[in-house]
């Protein structure tokens, strides 16, 4: 189960490091760093149920306002 209680020994230190990680980066560079970070952490967690729970919580409350680049196909 996804642990949403405090698990970080020093939350303020972590938060500062996370923000500092993106210092001097363009938004695009930051996206790259975030994507790598997500993959690294996801592999470390490993448990598909926990990851699914985390993904659902991350997405909660966001109304989709985009689309994808594929086109409907009919033949």
């Amino acid at each position: 189960m996804l642990n949403t209680e405090t698990n970080l020994p020093s939350p303020d230190d972590f938060y500062e490091e996370l923000v500092a990680l993106h210092r001097d980066l363009t938004p695009e560079q930051s996206r790259q760093v975030n994507a790598r970070l997500i993959l690294l952490l996801a592999n470390h967690v490993g448990d598909p149920a926990v990851l699914r729970e985390a993904m659902a919580r991350a997405r909660r409350g966001i109304e989709p306002a985009g689309g994808d680049a594929t086109l409907p196909a009919r033949a």
Partner: protein, 558 residues
């Protein structure tokens, strides 16, 4: 430069003569529309069961261009059963390994057949016109197949008794009647259009250039895939070897590329020079620009019309799941239709073709869509994760498993099929009911051979012998359904098979290992070499029930 073997026909340039139809008014058991790999395989498989087949094609040539080039192990095993596997393998380029490069660094390599004891390799590469040519040679040797070129289907109607089609020929339009029609007429299926049916799915916003190049080169016979290589920055490239010193290079171009311009030699040659070097000598053999879609028909059986191959479903080329799955459609359909035509199984058996192959198509579409999401990301976030995985793959092993340049064709397991009987007894290992059985080296009648050559074409009962008496399988009375019986003996032991059975020696013990078999273990196989059911000991009633179920006996009652 060396090209075709001496004396070998130029299959790409053969033109077949139009011949008018003999016996026009005659109603045929089966018409197959489309003499591509799928239609030819279906026709051969039916004819080998003694079912007369009329095979029609709208033009008079085999495949123009190399098109499908990667033929998977399972497809080769089907070709073996049809009688042309050896020729395909002798002509084809055998390969088992793939490599993935990011920029100029190799990040991931895979071996698709890491164990020995199989007759066929993971893949051979062979131009589609050779595959069609070799299949056609097989078909021409079968008197039950009647082939007519330049017969274009323009209309179709059906009722509960049969199908009538209109075909346009050089001599005008005529009607042909049949009991069953197999539509193997490709992605732009005329049969599908004539019936007003629509395949639906997604098209990916990307374009790819295929360039077949004839040259002397020393790349190994492996599948090489580059993401963002220095010679084609920000996009992907795929390289494959074909026979006759031909190499397939597949360049990702992006959605904005102009498909007409990109086929011109002045655009293609610089791309090739960037890969092959300024000094390389080569000639262009075939060029094509394509986009792709993942799509399928809702159902593959529409009354007496059965869709197989690209007419039924489409995938991206990454994974070689198009032609390979089409050949599996043909094999799945042929034994069922054969039994129905001969009155040995109810028509409802054909619904299992629909169930099994629709599920297989979905499996292929899923694998293909996942590969496409990696190669052609469909959103910014998707691109970010792709780029992240490629970057991490350089030093993080887990990320190499995320890199997806195509997950290559493997046969489907008909786990949930109405024809499959679930295990009652305990079995370990990867083989399961509904799966095609693995190959293994055997000895039969004093000569060395391969297990898969001994099964298929009919239902087969396999009994693993050991200590003690063999069960009396003659207690089975499946008549009139033909049932082959094989007794497998351990390495070094000759069998003395009972009446109506053949003895096969498991010469390296691999068969028992791959089947997780102990003395007494019994397997029932379908005519397409998939497992119907298995038991730890012979039980005549259980075998008879599984056989009846697999021949469509229970479908109507489900």
């Amino acid at each position: 430069m060396a090209s075709r073997a001496p004396g070998e026909p130029d299959y790409q340039r053969l033109a077949f003569r139009y011949e008018p139809m003999a016996g026009r008014g005659e109603r045929r058991p089966v018409i197959v529309v489309g003499a591509g790999p799928v239609g030819l395989a279906a026709a051969i498989d039916l004819a080998r069961q003694g079912v007369p087949v009329l095979l029609i094609d709208d033009d008079d040539k085999l495949s123009q261009g190399s098109r499908a080039i990667c033929f998977a192990k399972r497809t080769l095993e089907i070709f073996d059963r049809l009688g042309c596997g050896q020729r395909m393998v002798e002509k084809g380029v055998t390969w088992n390994r793939g490599k993935v490069f990011v920029r100029d660094e190799e990040v991931y390599a895979f071996d698709l057949l890491p164990e020995g004891g199989h007759r066929r390799p993971a893949f051979v590469n062979l131009q589609q016109y050779y595959v069609e040519g070799f299949l056609l040679d097989c078909a021409l040797a079968l008197p039950a197949i009647d082939i007519r070129w330049r017969h274009r289907l323009t209309g179709i109607s059906q009722d509960e008794n049969g199908v009538t089609i209109e075909v346009e020929t050089p001599e005008g339009t005529q009607s042909l009647a049949c009991d069953w029609l197999i539509a193997a007429d490709g992605a732009r299926s005329a049969t599908r259009k004539a019936l007003g049916l629509v395949s639906s799915g997604r098209t990916f916003r990307d374009r790819f250039l295929i360039a077949d190049v004839r040259m002397e080169a020393d790349f190994p016979a492996e599948r090489w895939f580059w993401f963002d290589p220095p010679f084609h920055p920000n996009r992907s490239v795929l390289l494959h070897q074909q026979p006759d010193q031909v190499w397939r290079v597949d360049f990702q171009l992006g959605w904005e590329a102009d498909p007409i311009e990109e086929q011109k030699p002045e655009k293609v040659m610089p791309r090739l020079r960037a890969l092959l070097g300024e000094a390389a000598e080569f000639e262009l053999e075939w060029v094509s620009v394509y986009t792709f879609s993942c799509l399928r028909l809702d159902r593959f059986r529409h009354g007496r019309v059965l869709f197989a191959g690209d007419s039924a479903h489409g995938v991206s080329p990454f994974g070689a799941r198009g032609a390979n799955s089409g050949i599996q459609d043909a094999e799945n359909l042929a034994w069922k239709l054969g039994l129905v035509v001969k009155g040995l199984a109810p028509e409802t058996l054909l619904d299992s073709y629909d169930a099994e192959r629709v599920e297989a198509a979905d499996e292929n579409i899923l694998a293909s869509t996942r590969s496409t999401d990696f190669i052609t990301p469909k959103s910014e976030a998707s691109r970010d994760f792709r780029d992240a995985a490629l970057d991490l793959a350089r030093d993080c092993p887990f990320a190499r498993r995320l890199v997806n340049s195509g997950r290559l064709s493997v046969p489907s397991t008909y786990r949930t099929s109405p024809l499959t009987t679930a295990d009652r007894d305990a079995f370990a290992g990867p083989l399961e009911p509904g799966a095609p059985v693995p190959d293994a080296p055997i000895r039969i009648g004093g000569r060395e051979g391969w297990f898969l050559d001994e099964v298929g074409g009919a239902f087969t009962l396999i009994v693993f012998a050991g200590q003690g008496a063999l069960p009396d399988t003659d207690a089975l009375r499946p008549d009139p359904l033909p049932l082959d019986r094989i007794v497998v003996t351990p390495p070094g032991q000759d069998g003395d098979p009972p009446l109506h059975a053949r003895a096969v020696e498991d010469r390296e013990g691999l068969l028992a290992r791959r089947f997780d078999a102990a003395p007494g273990t019994v397997y029932l196989l379908r005519p397409d070499q998939h497992v119907c059911a298995r038991w730890r000991s012979f039980d005549a009633a259980a075998v008879a029930a599984a056989l009846q179920r697999a021949a469509g006996g229970e479908i109507g009652r489900c």
